[in-house]
Structure formats: C-alpha cells, structure tokens
Amino acid sequence: MRRSPKTRLGAVAAVAAVALAAAACGSSGSPSGSKALTASAPGITPSQILIGSHQPLTGVAAPGYDEIAPASNAYFQYVNAHGGIYGRKIVYKYLNDQYDPTDTASVVHQLVLQDNVYAIFNGLGTPTHLAVVKYLNSSKVPDVFVASGCECWNAPGTYPDTFGWQLDYIREGKILGSYIKQHFAGKKIGYFYQDDEFGMDGVKGLNYELPKSQVVASESYNPAVTNVAPQVTALKAAGAQVVVSFSVPAFTALLKLTSLKLSFSPQLVVSDVGSDPITLAGLLQSFAKQGGATVSGNALTQGIITDGYLPSLGDTSNSWIQLFTKLHSKYLPKLPLDGNVAYGLAVGYTFVQAMLKAGRNPSRQDLINAINGGLPQGAAVAPYAYSSSDHNGITGAYMAVVKNGVLVPTGPVQVTDDSPTGAITTETAAQPAAPASGIPSP
C-alpha cells in the first residue's frame, strides 16, 4: 500500500514532536532514546503493540458497557494517528464474553495463547475477571486496569501483574456511606447489591461508615435472574427509605421499574458503575416497552444520587470533557456521549501513560514496573494509588445527583483509602488540565 506524501509528512512530524517532547521531559535525547524499535516482548513488534480484552458485547451487562471498549479503541486510534507509542501503533482486540465467567476463561486463553497479546487491558467485570486473574498472573501477562472496582485486583503479593483502575468499591462504599450518614440521618436504609465480590465489596465499604442499626434490609440479586420483585418486596416490607444499590445498569433499571410497579419510592443512591443516566434512561425505556408501558427515562433517573470519579459530562468548560467531546464526535459518532464512552477514553489515556513510561522497547515487566512507580493523575478527579504495594487506581470521587441526564456534582472531590478506619478527606489540589495534544507526555 502506498502512503501519500502528506500522511508520511504527518507521521514524520508527529514522531518528531514526540521525540522533542521526550527530550524536553528530561530523557535528554540519550543514545537509548534513539534505539531501534525491536520486538521486545510478546505482542510487541517494531510497528505495533497488540493488546486484548474480554468485554460484555452482548448479554445482561452489555447495555452501556459495550461502549467502553470501542471508546478506548477510539482513543488508541487517535494516539496512533498522532505518532503512536514511540512510533508503534496500538492494536486493541476485544472479544465478547457475554459477562459469563466461563466464556471469559475461553476468550482470554485465546487472546493469550493464540493471539499472543502483550497485555490484557481493561477486562470488564468482577465475576468474569476473577475467572482469569490467576491464569494471567501465572502466565506473567500484564493484567492492567481491570474494569471493575473489586478489591480483588489490589493484591500485589498474590497478583503482582494485576492492577485496578476505577474507584474501588470499598472506597466508593465509604464515600457513599458517609454522605448517607450525613444527609439521611435516622432514615431506614436498605441495600440492593450484586451477589458477588462487586456487591459485597460495596457493602463492606458502606458498613464501614453506616451504623448497623440504620440498615433495615440487605438484598442481593443474581445477574442471571432478571426478576428482582422478591428483593424489592423485602426492601419495601422493611420500610427502607433510602436504597443503596451496587448494581450493573440493567439491574438499577430493574430495581427502579420494579419499585414503581410495587409503588415503592425510596431515595435511590447508586454506585457509579450502575448509574450512568443515559444508559439508564435507555434501559428504563426499553424494559418498560417490553412490559407494554411507556416511561420517560430522563424523568425516572431524575434525583438519583450517585458519585463520579471522572469529570461530569455536564461540565463543558472542563478540558477533559472538551477532549472527550472532540474524540467522540470524530471517532464514535454513532454512540451517545455518556459515562461509558468517557470511561473508555479515560482508561485508554491511562494505558498510554503507562506504555510511554514503560519505555521504547518494553518487556512485560517494564510495564508492571512503570505502573508500580506511580502514574501522574489523568482524566480522573482524584490521583491514582499505584505503587509497588498498592494496585488500586483512582482514590476518590465527588457526590452528585442526576439532573436532566447528567451528573450535577453536589460536593467537593473526596479521597480516602480502603481501610475500615481511614478518614475521608476533601481533595484540595485541582485536577490538572488535559494536555493540549490530548496525549500524555512520556
């Protein structure tokens, strides 16, 4: 294939720009900076970096979450079009596991053994990823930025090659719990959570903050069973006035609709992963339609309390949101600009940060070392926790309420740790702005 002189010029310019940036950042154009690109690790060739992922492209967790991998891929296309990672292009192969752990095991074996990927990036889901975390670590495949806030990924001793990314559910549970303690003192609280490490971690965090006497019901659901009437009936019978939900979007929607049907209207407080207003509105409308009813998705999501660890999409003056909007309109015009797209773009940015830090010809271990050394704050409102003894990602979030389909922050960014007693503090430093190029500097 012939490349037009214009793109070649563009590529040269981009490489030059990256080289300049590298020089400016203090790698000072040492001889190592101009080393030839080699096939330094499985999945890495002089021209590309192949990474893989398991994603729910169909099935119960697909609504909303199926936008994440295309969004990350859009960010990689953007980086590839602007010089790539030291000239290498990122190739992102994500396979459908239908949010079924058995399928996850099968597609991840395929990615690692057949496609020989450099790393598994942003594998989505707690129950699903738990099926492969041991395998990836025993095979020494970097398992970076798992799309789940389970504490399971923060085990540098057992799983040295695994890193979380999003706000972990314990921290999130603490932040939600302390908000509820302050704003709904004396109210009866019910829990609604997914019956696995995802839900249980969230409940753990909530319990660190909320007095036991206030919690009147604790109901779990199985993601394979879409009837949640028994749980909602129990929450109603217990007289819950506030229901805290650690659920995937489809089950937040089912909770809301089933509550409506049973004329039960508690204040909903929903974990970030289950509260994206655009995804929820779509789900509410399509579920209601299946049941022969018409509802306004936006009206039903109005007033849901949640938290956000990425800047609110409603904040159009934020440099990150401007970057996301630009990338969205260029690469993802068919998808809504919602929390999932923002998530995919933001985690793609983090991966590029880590790859640039891993060096020109990185081994698999170089990537692990790079993240263990800590990464500068990216698109998230709070810094990462990464160190050799902590493999959690984002450390804080702001509380927000859903208004007209966007999150409206109701308070400052709060950061905390994942221990039972660690204090929740207000983050004083402002979030650094997005780089003008949209690409992190190495």
Partner: protein, 352 residues
Amino acid sequence: MTLLRHLAVAVGAGLILLALSVKVTPYRDYQIAEVAAYVVAVAGLTVLIGLSGQISVGNGAFMAVGGYAGALLLIHQSWPLALVFAASAVIAAAAGAIFGLAAARLRGPYLAGATLMLAVALPSLADQYTGVFGGDQGLSASITTPAFLGATFPPTRWQAWLTCAAALITLVLLANLRRSRVGRSWRAVRDDEVAAALSGLNVARLQILAFVVSAACAGLGGALLAVVTGIVAPGAYTLTLSIGLLTAAVLGGLGSLPGAVWGSLVLVLVPTYLTNVTASHGLSGAASSSVPIAAYGVVLIVVMLVFPAGIQGALRRIFGPAAPAAAVPLNALRRRRPASEHEEEGIHEKIT
C-alpha cells in the same frame, strides 16, 4: 483379544496425541484439552442413547456435578489429581443413579422432559448455596504443572496430556463395556424391552446402569473441563451445554465412540473458528455472537439430512462398506423398530 485390540488402538492414539501436543502451539494444546474433556462426556452420552436407547437432554447437569465436585476437592483437599477426577466421576455417577431410578420408569419424550428439567434446575443450586458454590461467580479450579516437568513447560500441554489420558482410558473402558455382556444386554433392551425381559434381563436395572455410566462419564468430563478452563460457574452448565452434548453425539453418530470424538471436535472447533471469522469481518457484537449458533444449526441440519448415521456413519460408508455399522441411525431411537443392520452384531445368539 478385544481388550488387547482396544488397548493397542488407545496406546497408538495416545502416542500420536503426545507427539501432536508437543508440536502444536499452546493454544492448540488448550483446544485439544477442551476436545478431550468433551469426548469423555459425549462418549458417555452416546453409549446411553445409542446402546441403551434412553435419551438424556440433561447430561450437562452431570457435568456440573463433576465439575463442582472436582473444584471443591481441589480447593478443600490436597488429593492427587487422579483421585480427584475419579471421585468426581463417582459423585456424578451417584447423582446419575438417583436420577436413573426415577428415569427408568419414564419413556421417550417423558424421559427427555425429566432430564431437561435436571439440566435447567441443577445449575441454579449454585446460586442458592452461594457459600459453598460461589454463586454466579463460581469457584476456581486451577491446577499447577507438576514440578518435574520444569518451570517453562507449557501448562496447556500438561492439561492436554491429562485430559487425553482420561479420554483414552474412558474410551477403552466404554469400548469394552460395549462388547461385554452388559453392552449386549443394553442393545437387547433398546431393541425390544419385552423381548429382553422375557429373555431374563432386568430391564430397569440395565437402564439405571446405563444412566450411571453416562453420568460418570459426564462427571469426569465436567471435572476435566473445569481444570482446563480453571473455573466452574453456573454459566458453563446451561441448557445449551446439554443440548450441545446431545448434538455432538448425534453429529458423530449415536452409539459410536469414534463418533464421540468427531462430535466433540465440531462442538469445540466450529464456534471458535466462526468467532474468529466474524471478528475479522468486523461484525458487531450482537451479530457475531449469533453467527456461531446459526452456523451450528446449519451444520446439524446438513449432516442429519446427508448422513443420518452421523459423521462416523458417513466415514464408514465412504471408506469401509464391509465393516459392520457401529453407528446407529437416528431412527434407532424409536422403540421396537424393525430389525436393521446392527443386529449383525450377534445380540440374539448371545442372549438366547
């Protein structure tokens, strides 16, 4: 004599598989291991349906029993692997015996219905007792490569060895069972229950025994598959799995043990191949995940129309017209069907 011949074939196949497993990539080893695990389960089913004439749409549930038994033993006991596998087969066989007691009273579609119920209901037990079975998330069932093979030995090759050894042992045992008094009695029961009873056979006991054997195979297959994929979770043991096993048995040729191998190859390789094809053609997630299922249906229809006796039946027709037809055509499932080719196998003379 027969035993020796079967052993010789098994040893030969084992040597070929050993050579193959060393030659191929780790991913192919993984697929070999998957196929071998399915072979065990499908072979048990094909014996049940093809020989004893009972139909089961629920052998996926027995795989679940074996898989969970294996995983729980691996987690809670430090037994040698062979013992874990044997115990999984025994536990599944016990489940099969209990179910077989009820099933021996049922016939045709009623039996199919009862086994269908088992396939639907049993895996959801895992969600009822999350403390033991880990709920939807399942249990980990990973094994480590033994130290004497060295640290760099590909784990999937070790898994391929384990599963292939288990599959070959199972096939030898089943092949001998087929040729034994029990196998002949099963065929007599299948062909005509009344005649079999008049000949002094205990029909109910033979039918239960067939269920036990097929459940034991399914259980062993389930435990092997659990070790290969590293996980047992209810999502693996849906009705689709049970139907898949049945499909594989029919595709390969009911009652034929080599047929179980062909059927398992189709079961594992066709979906993987098609997923790759659809992925490389950039189909959307929803479309690409339906293609394998649709193609599977097409393969099934075509094979059934062109080769009613399954792949093994077709091979025999093409390569060995003189050989006795071991594969039973689909219509063998009808009770009291008219005499057909496989009565050459000498049922009557042995029984009377």
